[in-house]
Symmetry: C2
Subunit: 415 residues, 2 copies
């Protein structure tokens, strides 16, 4: 089955918003084993949309349209598609009822144009909208055998409608023998180009599973994707490939999954080890603690920490002698180790991570932009520290420092 996605909306065409709907729909269709051969974007223009439909029906079995189901005059998708396939638009009673209720609850009069949202094809199937008012449509053209899906444009409406109504419908109507199964491996402390070089022969030779690499903010992920009619066979193939990959670059691997992060894995390990950490940040200015505190349930392993951006606060908050700061400077091994040791003492935790350095744009105390000292203090075991030189802009230097520090703690924690 060949599918294509047509996003309707002048704001996408002009580059005012990114077409994330196409990405989402493509991913979902891939999971169902339905292959997408084309994506396109057309503005809120009836004539050009009709032309796009003519092109699409010649080359695709399933045409997924998103956008243009709303109540304003530039929402044309239903009207143009209905005309194209020779359908009549009728009101969907469930949608209409919901619409009435919506306005009643708000005590405002419903203007007539709102009823455009609840129109469906006479011979089509209505797709209810769990989070909005515009009703979606599934329709099969008996003549051309083309299937049409009309979905709302706002992602917060499109995604729930797709997951709740479209996925079951497509699974039932178009069961595919072969489906895609993916596994995401996450790496830190290695750049994408080096990772890809280490795996070059595998990436080139592999057909099923395939390997794709993605550079994220200071980490790299590999997506292994297998196409198979039998999931257990696919999982075994993924296991085998993963083993080969980890033999080569396993020292940089830290976890699985698209939604994972080094901070999450560190928090998991802290919990499993029943240990707590504090943080003293200079150049990272709160980024490490913000990343930790974004994780639900972090309070059992992270009681708090310090942002000591200036020399004065390093002295006042952490009780580091001004003498030390003046003698060695704030971007120094002596300073970062004192930050770690003092914050450990003040917060009474098992670990402390400390960061000092030059995020730029200006150099500091004669030290180059990108110079970063990171220290890890461990209760009853002293302090270790490393000096890094990150070549990046301010944001990149801060992010690299965060990852390097979390990496130090990750390595120190038992699995």
């Amino acid at each position: 089955m060949k599918a294509e996605i047509i996003a309707v909306g002048t704001e996408i065409l002009l580059g005012q918003i990114v077409n994330t709907n196409a990405t989402f729909i493509a991913q979902e269709l891939a999971k169902l084993g339905i292959e997408v051969y084309h994506q396109s974007v057309v503005g809120d223009n009836g004539g050009r949309l009709a032309q796009s439909l003519s092109i699409a029906e010649k080359r695709s079995d399933l045409i997924v349209l998103c956008g243009g189901l709303g109540p304003t005059p530039d929402d044309l998708t239903k009207q143009v598609t209905a005309k194209h396939v020779g359908e009549t638009l009728v009101q969907n009673p469930i949608g209409q009822e919901k619409l009435r209720h919506f306005f009643e609850k708000r005590n405002t009069a419903m203007t007539e144009n709102n009823l455009l949202q609840t129109l469906v094809f006479q011979n089509g199937e209505a797709l209810q909208n769990p989070t909005g008012l515009a009703i979606g449509i599934f329709y099969t053209d008996r003549e051309t055998k083309s299937h049409y899906l009309l979905l709302p444009g706002p992602p917060k409406e499109l995604i729930p409608m797709f997951q709740q109504h479209v996925v079951p419908l497509l699974q039932e109507r178009f069961p595919q023998k072969e489906k895609l199964y993916s596994r995401v491996l996450r790496f830190y402390g290695i750049g994408e180009s080096r990772l890809v070089t280490e795996l070059a022969d595998l990436i080139e030779q592999q057909v099923n599973p395939t390997i794709a690499s993605y550079a994220k903010q200071n980490e790299v992920t590999l997506r292994l994707t297998v196409k198979t009619a039998q999931e257990p066979v696919g999982q075994r193939l993924l296991d085998q490939l993963e083993e080969i990959i980890l033999k080569r670059v396993g020292q940089f691997f830290y976890g699985y999954g698209e939604e994972n992060s080094l901070a999450k894995v560190v928090v998991q390990r802290l919990k499993a080890n029943d240990k707590r950490v504090t943080v003293a940040e200079s150049l990272t200015g709160g980024h490490v603690q913000a990343m930790l505190s974004a994780i639900p349930g972090v309070s059992s392993v992270f009681p708090g920490g310090f942002v000591t951006y200036s020399a004065q606060t390093k002295s006042d908050f952490l009780q580091i002698p001004m003498d030390l700061l003046e003698t060695y400077g704030t971007v120094s091994q002596e300073c970062v180790e004192a930050m770690a040791a003092q914050s450990l003492k003040l917060a009474q935790t098992d670990y402390s991570l400390a960061f000092t350095g030059v995020a730029g744009p200006d150099s500091l105390e004669g030290q180059e932009v990108g110079t970063v000292w990171i220290a890890l203090a461990t209760k009853n075991q002293g302090v270790v520290s490393h000096c890094y030189h990150f070549e990046s802009h301010r944001e990149g230097i801060q992010a690299s420092a965060v990852m390097a520090g979390l990496g130090m703690l990750y390595q120190a924690l038992e699995k």
Copy 2:
């Protein structure tokens, strides 16, 4: 002049990466007054790419292709386009020299396939790549009068090539009488739906300039866009529209520009007022300080602050009596005001912002998820505090609290 954008790459088609190149190119073309009528995505497949070119040349004057200029066998864009327009591929000497130098510097042998990157059309113009190895191409088909631009896929190569080479070329070859001029207005403390409701009549009636709203993380932006042959006239129209808008919703307006933020404006005001701020964060766990410290030059107004996630650190770091925390709880007016007052004292700043509350997922001390207390302490002027109830998930509650706190400080600072 009608333009269209064709992104080439199976990874976009499968939804593995988002097509941000199309967004970027569309924005740039709009600025030049070149209208984009179609965008499409096609995989690394010669046949389907050729079909896409046939469709494009019938409807567009300028066809911008991106992706598929690399050295691997699935990089086909140059070969397929050359065949389509009847061009011969030849080596670009400058590109070839750069390629040789690249491999020499790394002391590695250059494999033959790398030379695919430096191929250009015999009768085309080479576009040098400031940050990579693949050479771009501009070509005009004398027969069909169609213009072709072939650009690399990685954004870090495409963007510099576009800005340095493509913009001047398009400006010279295709000067457009009318160009688009945009102005972005930023608002906080008002939801998109309310903002749009307040301006509904304007949004509906306005044709030139147009008004478009975008919901960002806890703020809303309005983009006013005018199309004009005379920039001063356009700017005057934007001024007039802005005045009308700000008469209605000016109390929520804080600044201009796509790259602006409330944190940036707050830092600017602190600098202009010659004032400094510290922060004591509980539920926001470092997010406020991370946002401030992301801004270059923040050190003159932000010496540092505290993350006091637990009751113990509130007591230890900020010297808040445990009595007070036990009597009133950590999610209380008493606690947040003590946090603000104590951190102001310890950091010796002019202002302190303090945050405490329940980010969830679990409730805390019998307080509902989303309950947030924020206090602003001002040197010699005492402490004010507000209680908020944010309905969102953990990340949304933290972000809402950050914006509300920055808003309090913004209001307190003189323009």
